[in-house]
C-alpha cells in the first residue's frame, strides 16, 4: 500500500474544502473521501486507487448526516448512517420493505456495520479487470486503455447501459431500491452549495468516459438521501446470486406497487446486477402501469426492458 495523508475533519465544510481538487469524484483522483472504507481500502491495497490524501468523513459531527428522520411522508436518511442501522430501523422495516430487504441481502453483517450509506451508493464496480492491475486494459482505471472484459470472463457484466468502452456492472443493492422510490441525494460542495439532485451514480452510462462514475462536482459531499412519498409498503427486493449470502447480485429487482384490486395504478422498478448504473426500468413500468399483474404481463414488461440488451447466441 502506498503512503497517503490522512485527514479527519470534524465538519462537512472542512471536508469539502480538503477534497475540492479537480476531478475529485473520479477513480483516478488524488483525494478520496472515506466512509466505512469497505471499498476504498480494498482498492488501495490492490493499488487500483492511489489517492495522495484520504479524507475520513466519519468524524464529521453535522447531525443531519447521522440521522434518520420522517416528516410528512418524507424519509430523510443521513449519508453517514450505517447499512446495519438503517436495516434495523423499526419504522423503515415496517414501511419500506424494499429498503430493509436490499440492505439485509447486501454484504455481510461486519460490512454492513462498517459501511455508510453515502459510500454504499457510491461503491465501485466488482469487475475483475478493474480490480486487478495486471490487466493493462481498463478504461475505468486507465482512461483510454481499452476494456479487457469485452472479450474476457464477463458472465457477471452489464447488459444494460453498456458500451464498447466499458461493461462493468454497478454492484450495489441499496441504490436500485432508492431509485425505485424516486429518492434524491442531498449534497454540499463549493461548486454547488447545498442542493438536491438525482442519485449521483444514476445519471451517466459509460459511453465514452467510464472513469467518470458520478455526477458529483469536485469535492461534493453527499449529506443525505431523501425519499419522497409514493408506493412503499407493498414493495420488495428480490436478489438472485451464486451463494445464498454474502454475494453480489447476478440480477436483482426492487419493486414497489400501488394496487387497485389487482390492477397496478403505479409501479416502480429498479434493477441491480445487470446494468452499468442502478437501473430504473421505465420501459417495464410503462408496460405494466394500468394492467393486471400476471406472469404474462410481467414477462412482457421484462421483454420490453431488455429489448436492446445483447442476447446469448443459441
Amino acid at each position: 500500500m502506498r503512503p497517503f495523508a490522512y485527514e479527519a475533519p470534524a465538519d462537512a465544510a472542512s471536508a469539502v474544502a480538503l477534497a475540492s481538487v479537480p476531478a475529485s469524484a473520479h477513480v483516478t483522483a488524488s483525494v478520496q473521501y472515506k466512509g466505512g472504507g469497505t471499498t476504498l481500502i480494498d482498492l488501495m491495497k490492490l493499488d487500483v486507487m492511489q489517492p495522495d490524501t484520504v479524507v475520513d468523513i466519519t468524524a464529521i459531527a453535522d447531525e443531519a448526516m447521522h440521522r434518520i428522520i420522517r416528516t410528512d411522508g418524507v424519509l430523510r436518511i443521513g449519508s453517514l448512517v450505517s447499512m446495519a442501522r438503517l436495516q434495523a430501523d423499526a419504522s423503515v422495516v415496517r414501511d419500506y420493505p424494499l429498503l430493509t430487504e436490499s440492505l439485509w441481502q447486501a454484504a455481510s453483517q461486519q460490512l454492513r456495520t462498517m459501511a455508510r450509506l453515502g459510500g454504499n451508493v457510491l461503491q465501485r464496480t466488482r469487475c475483475a479487470y478493474f480490480r486487478d492491475t495486471s490487466y493493462e486494459q481498463c478504461n475505468k482505471r486507465v482512461p483510454g486503455s481499452g476494456c479487457a472484459a469485452l472479450d474476457g470472463a464477463n458472465r457477471a457484466h452489464a447488459v444494460l447501459g453498456a458500451s464498447d468502452q466499458c461493461i462493468a456492472t454497478y454492484p450495489g443493492d441499496l441504490a436500485p431500491a432508492l431509485i425505485a422510490l424516486d429518492a434524491r441525494s442531498r449534497g454540499a460542495g463549493q461548486v454547488r452549495p447545498a442542493h438536491c439532485s438525482p442519485l449521483p451514480t444514476c445519471t451517466a452510462c459509460p459511453a465514452t468516459t467510464p472513469h467518470i462514475e458520478t455526477s458529483l462536482a469536485p469535492g461534493e459531499l453527499i449529506t443525505a438521501f431523501v425519499v419522497p412519498g409514493g408506493p412503499r409498503r407493498r414493495s420488495l427486493y428480490r436478489k438472485i446470486r451464486d451463494r445464498e449470502s454474502y454475494a453480489f447480485a447476478n440480477a436483482s429487482a426492487a419493486v414497489a406497487l400501488d394496487l387497485d384490486g389487482d390492477v397496478m395504478r403505479d409501479v416502480r422498478i429498479g434493477l441491480g446486477g445487470v446494468a452499468t448504473i442502478p437501473w430504473r426500468a421505465r420501459r417495464a413500468e410503462a408496460a405494466l402501469r394500468g394492467h393486471r399483474l400476471t406472469e404474462a404481463s410481467a414477462s412482457a414488461a421484462a421483454e420490453a426492458e431488455f429489448e436492446d440488451a445483447p442476447r446469448a447466441q443459441p
Binding site: 454484504a107 455481510s108 453483517q109 461486519q110 460490512l111 451463494r243 445464498e244 449470502s245 454474502y246
Partner: protein, 70 residues
C-alpha cells in the same frame, strides 16, 4: 464460545477460527442467533475453507444457550 467450538469440532485447520469466534460472540450478543438460518446469515462474512459450517452453527447454538444462562 471457545469451548463450544472445541466440543463441536467446529474447525479443522484453525486458520479462520479466531475470526469465527469473534463474529459468533457478536452474533449472540446482538441477538441474531435466533435460528440456524439467522446464524448462517450473520456468520456468512467469515469463510471457512475446511467447510466446518454445520459444526460452527452447532457451536454457536450451544454457546448461545450457555451465554444466556450467564
Amino acid at each position: 464460545m471457545q469451548q463450544a467450538f472445541i466440543d463441536h469440532d467446529a474447525f479443522q485447520c484453525g486458520y479462520c477460527t479466531s475470526g469465527q469466534i469473534m463474529s459468533a460472540i457478536a452474533c449472540v450478543r446482538e441477538g441474531h442467533a435466533t435460528s440456524d438460518e439467522d446464524i448462517r446469515e450473520y456468520m456468512s462474512g467469515n469463510l471457512c475453507r475446511c467447510a466446518a459450517y454445520p459444526n460452527i452453527v452447532a457451536a454457536v447454538n450451544q454457546a448461545k444457550a450457555e451465554m444466556e444462562q450467564g
